[in-house]
Symmetry: C2
Subunit: 385 residues, 2 copies
């Protein structure tokens, strides 16, 4: 039944005959399942299919009335979309918000945005909500667990409160996992079963997709690669250890290093930008590199090498079929990618890298909400009695 709903969600209206062929279901079995799904309000008839020679088959589609809310909370942003059963966005809001304001304020704002969509007639009621947060989550309990950059959110009952508010199933997951799910649904990892999604933003995290499913680990913190030590003599990390990957290379680390070379004058491109705007971002480093500033290029290469070393270890360990690089620092683009590839291909065994694409995310900013919508719809489908 889940397979029928997923096929209609992902591939659109289809004749009963073709659907049966595609999923390998017998005619009576399929007819029975479709009847149940129509009765449950999840599938609708959609007219007659073109003839395949014999009797014409009726088209079925995911019910056009279905509505899912997809929420992606970042360290400094809220993304909210309401989508239909095909996961097409009907409305999308994006605004700045500091996650450190705490769960009450942030979830209140999410509620206001969803109420606005309802008032505008986008939906009458929601069939499920998917929400990603920038920290570790107990997927089973639907709560954040000791999230380092989310004060006040520890064990806050996000799922329970949203489920009560909207009267529907709610899925809570961490931001990197939902990005991986999104990229597999509509991006470069479409239908890839085993891949790593590496998010390089303020910090660094990794979404792990194994055998077609998100792998979350025993405590839900699998993929927390930002705190792997890459340089015993490196800078102190927010976690208290020294030389963690994200203390050496991440959005925050890159800005820190960029300020040093701008102030020392080692990088004319960054010095000029700092003078002009009074601050520096990762984009300034990317632009400097594009202009040929050697210090900017070196900053990106050094970071790519460190990340590549960690990824080479993970390739030896997990033997995935693809690595996707996403998050804000993916804008460092091909200089970064070239360095990561070079290290991964050199440091892992040929059998594991013979056919291992290392590629940039296609969905970039929309990966998170897309994945949240996928998880929301799956949760709704799984609750059909």
């Amino acid at each position: 039944m889940l397979s029928i709903l997923r096929a209609l969600r992902d591939d659109g209206p289809v004749s009963r005959a073709e659907l049966g062929d595609r999923l390998g279901l017998t005619r009576p079995r399929l007819t029975g399942e479709i009847e149940r799904l129509i009765k449950a309000g999840f599938v609708a008839e959609a007219g007659m299919a073109a003839s395949r020679g014999g009797r014409r088959s009726t088209l079925v589609e995911i019910h056009p009335r279905l509505r899912f809310a997809a929420v992606d909370l970042g360290a400094g942003s809220i993304d909210v979309e309401v989508v239909n059963g095909r996961l097409e966005p009907l409305v999308a809001y994006r605004e700045s918000a500091d996650i450190r304001k705490g769960p009450k304020a942030i979830l209140h704002r999410v509620g206001e945005l969803l109420a606005k969509a309802r008032v505008e007639g986008v939906y009458g009621r929601l069939d499920a909500v998917g929400i990603g947060v920038p920290g570790p989550v107990s997927f089973r309990d639907g709560v954040p667990v000791s999230p380092p950059i989310m004060p006040g959110w520890d064990r806050y009952p996000v799922r329970e409160l949203l489920a009560r508010e909207h009267g529907c199933p709610v899925v809570v997951d961490n931001d990197v996992n939902i990005m991986a799910v999104g990229e597999r649904h509509g991006g470069v990892a479409r239908s890839v079963d085993d891949f790593l999604f590496v998010k390089i933003g303020t910090g660094i995290g990794c979404g792990i997709h194994l055998s077609g499913d998100v792998y979350r680990g025993v405590d839900g913190c699998a993929g927390d690669i930002g705190h792997i030590q890459v340089d015993a003599g490196g800078p102190t990390c927010s976690c208290g250890n020294t030389g963690c990957l994200e203390a050496v290379f991440s959005g925050a680390a890159l800005v820190r290093d960029a300020l040093v070379v701008a102030r020392s004058g080692a990088s004319p491109a960054l010095a000029e930008r700092l003078t002009r705007s009074g601050e520096l971002t990762a984009k300034d480093v990317a632009d400097g590199a594009a202009e040929g500033d050697v210090v900017c290029i070196k900053l990106i290469r050094d970071g790519g090498r460190r990340l590549g070393e960690v990824l080479a270890s993970l390739v030896s360990f997990a033997n995935p079929s693809m690595i996707v690089i996403g998050g804000g620092l993916a804008q460092l683009g091909h200089v970064l990618l070239a360095e990561i590839r070079s290290v991964v291909y050199r440091r892992s065994l040929p059998l594991a890298t013979g056919n291992l694409p290392v590629v940039l995310s296609e969905l970039s900013g929309r990966a998170g909400v897309t994945g949240a919508a996928v998880l929301a719809s799956d949760a709704a489908f799984e609750q059909i009695p």
Copy 2:
């Protein structure tokens, strides 16, 4: 059906009533399945159960006639067992053999040992064979793939030839995976779903058990952690790279380092052993450490630290619930274990290590054959029409 057979294999004779309760199967469903399994020759009646108050239930058991062959090929050894349906060994052979003699010679010897068991009346025919080899394996194709220490074995049709010879299903896997399966069946990882089994022998490898199953990766080489770089300036590895984990710490590396400190006189304990026997083994280092030789203790600690650093990364990535240390170097015992624990607990985030036992294998030398027997029986069970 698989669940019924596994329960009878792992837990022994049981009444139909209790089996139904344990597996959550209705009476008619269970009766039907049991009839099919009796007809297929995999299950037998085993008398009456003690009364539970109502009508007495009949006992069923895994058929006492079932026979599986379990083979564990090491770099320098052949282990062959023939077991019954409860995986109890009926005969066990262990002998030295150099895997580099090539597949024809080695598999011929395996065939001779199995023929000997048949002549001795241990079995009439085999129901399945499980075999582990010391190198990467394409599990799907049943062949070794580019195994570094197994010249002549690349893509050799091990499964096909053994299946033809014995007329039964055959499973081929790598030695570390079968050890992990064995440890989960009858050792310290019993019924643990997510754990890492780290084998430190001549080389280093890792068996990965996720969500209750062996995780093999896309090309079957997941867990190949021996070639993760731990020291850019370290010794050259057999793979051509420098500073790989197993070039820095493994059976071969430890003997190399032990010879250096024995010859230089830095370690009196090792110098004396070298003079006495003309060679050194990992056991000499373990014995030296037990006697308090500080250089021996340092060798083990340094190795444990390197391995611990790699394991800390893998804990951050995979968030397992247990790490099991096995293979020949597990005899380095508690000095090694203490160092690994110290690094892993210090370098990984609290959420992942709050409840993470790092323990020695319980089955040690028998882990491999035990796992091969488990995989063989699963293969036989899965083939029942």
